[in-house]
Amino acid sequence: MTKYSGYCGKFLRVNLSKGIITEEELPGKVIEKYIGANGLGAYYLYKETEKGVDPLGENNKLILFTGPLTGTIFPSSPKIGIFSKSPLTGGFMDSYAGGHFGAELKFAGYDGMIVEGKSEKPVYIWINNGEVELRDAAEYWGKSTTETREAIKKEVNDDLIRIAVIGPAGEKMVHYACIMVDGTHAAGRGGLGAVMGSKKLKAIAIRGTKNSIKVADEEKTNEIVESIFEEVRTNKVMSETLPTFGTTTATLANNSTGILGTRNWQTEVFENAEDISHIALKEQLFEKTLSCFQCPVRCVHYCKIKEGEYKGLETMKPQYETVYSLGSLCGINDPKVIAKANYICNEAGIDTISAGVSIAFVMECFEKGILTEKELEGIEARFGNGKAVIALLEKVVAKEGIGEFISLGTKRMSEKLGKGTEKFAIHVKGLELAGHSIRGYKGMSLGYAVSNRGGSHQDMRHIPERSGQFDRRSIEGKEQLVVDITSTTVIRDTFTYCAMVEGVIGRVGLTEKHVNIINAVCGFDFDLEELKTIATRILNLERCFNIREGMDRKDDTIPGRFMTEPIPEGPSKGMYTPKEELDEMLDKFYKLRGWDENGIPLQETIKELGLDDIVKDKDLRS
């Protein structure tokens, strides 16, 4: 048992091939070096997988970890981190989901679990406080995420259990299948649902009532918690905007500054943005707000379509990223179509960002005559055609015919098609791009390019450039900005507080605030320099995972469109990031990080960070 507070001190190892479940201690030395979710996920994934492991094979692992804040009185920190080698990128993938699942796991007595092997038949993991078993899931195979959740609740006769589940897309190993958590959240990115499906693991269900998570210094923790509650209460974004509109206010704000991805990023001004604004969504969809464990913000919206063809359909959110990917990016101006598409994704278990970007790619191929109506099985995949979006999504879920092709994601689709399509295949390292412009923010150009998971907006953050605090039109100093912001986001994902409250805790660079939080909750004695080293260690370990898989500088790039085609209209007209600019930023960034010119961590960097116990020279130089 660990001496540190905020932990259960143990995790589960579930071997699906052998049907064996064991408990393992979470060693104090590992906690001190990696702290929580992101850190522990990177450590165990690196240590326990071999170079070249098949993401959908028996030897890949699916790793779940909470952070030390999860399940404590610390607000807005509900996240469960899920880690694996991604079938979409072939590299390190981490994705985080809110809800109550993470806290419930700790209340059941575990900080996380490592799922390995492959079951012969569909199963689910049932964790009932300290008792854990594999249960038959044959009758749930093929069912939607909601149907499965409801059926498992019935089976265990408990409506309050927490469940992570895959849908038919995960079972069929759609490369961007996600894991739905608690029905309200998704570990969306990078195809972790496909990894779960490859293991024939339909769900993980938890009842946790026996364990409570103590903090080390109650007085200090209470002081910090109170100050965060006060900030949430007085901050207009957290007390007004997020509970009223979620993150959907970004649609109009991005559009009016000319950085809203539209029609597969052919332009960044959407003439129909008003139709899919936060106001339109609120009027046409939003019913009530929900919240994650111990979160005063309540940014989650339960929706019901109020009229039209899909009247009565109930779904969660959609948030801004979905309005972008399945809305403006596909030229869709009807919130009801976006909600219906969001519903299909949630029920089948698909990442809405990757799904929307993949469909937008298909639409551009169709309009350019690269894919014909016949090849698309009669679907007229023009931008703006809502029926086409729905029909294509349904084909992806079925993974049949053209759906099987689209289920591969944009990178593989463009590799198969050729004909110059790689220029407008909108992904980084195979992960489809989130809704924050590469061309419109020089810092995001670099941040996306070097992100270990690829086209994620959760590593580099756009907000400091957005505010005008850093000039988004200049490359000046952006290498340092990316270092500072990504150090903060990796610690956010290691402690597991939500991205929505990162403004309260600090976005650009780690500060004493981060140190005070973790010391008060866990009883560490870290100083700021030590915490910075931990952040750098975790980021480097993820990087080493990717290098071991064969990635290097050639993969730290952005889609061709953004390097050669300036934004054609609107307030950001003319902006793009030519290759020379990206190269200049990369050179400076690698130097700051202690990597060679090919983006590979130097031996002294590995040593200084204390990674030489698991990262071997041959992993990086072969």
Binding site: T257, S467, D471, M500
Partner: protein, 104 residues
């Protein structure tokens, strides 16, 4: 051609309130046209808006200082915090005021 500010008693600009800024300040439309006398600066525009919509102050300021998470853009260009008094406006300018959203 863009009009200059010379020889005029006032200029007219459009202000768009995004995020939840419009809620509760007595505005019907999100976009309003505002006439601005000299000085034609963004700083002065904010002062005029506060007079026109008294409840706005509470939404954009704390202890009489603009909120650090306020996003102000003129014709799509974000204005650096602390430079509002230097930002000159002209007739026809479009000003967007929003909170910095998380957007993800």
């Amino acid at each position: 051609m863009k009009e200059t500010n010379d020889h005029k008693d006032y200029i007219e600009v459009t202000v768009e309130f995004l995020s939840s800024l419009k809620e509760g300040i007595g505005l019907k439309d999100r976009k309003v046209k505002v006439q601005l006398t000299k000085p034609y600066t963004l700083q002065h525009l904010i002062e005029v808006l506060e007079k026109l919509y008294p409840k706005l102050q509470n939404k954009i300021k704390d202890s009489n200082k603009l909120l650090p998470y306020l996003l102000i853009a003129v014709n799509g260009y974000e204005v650096m915090p602390g430079t509002l008094d230097k930002k000159e406006l002209s007739t026809g300018d479009e000003i967007m005021i929003s909170y910095l959203g998380v957007g993800g």
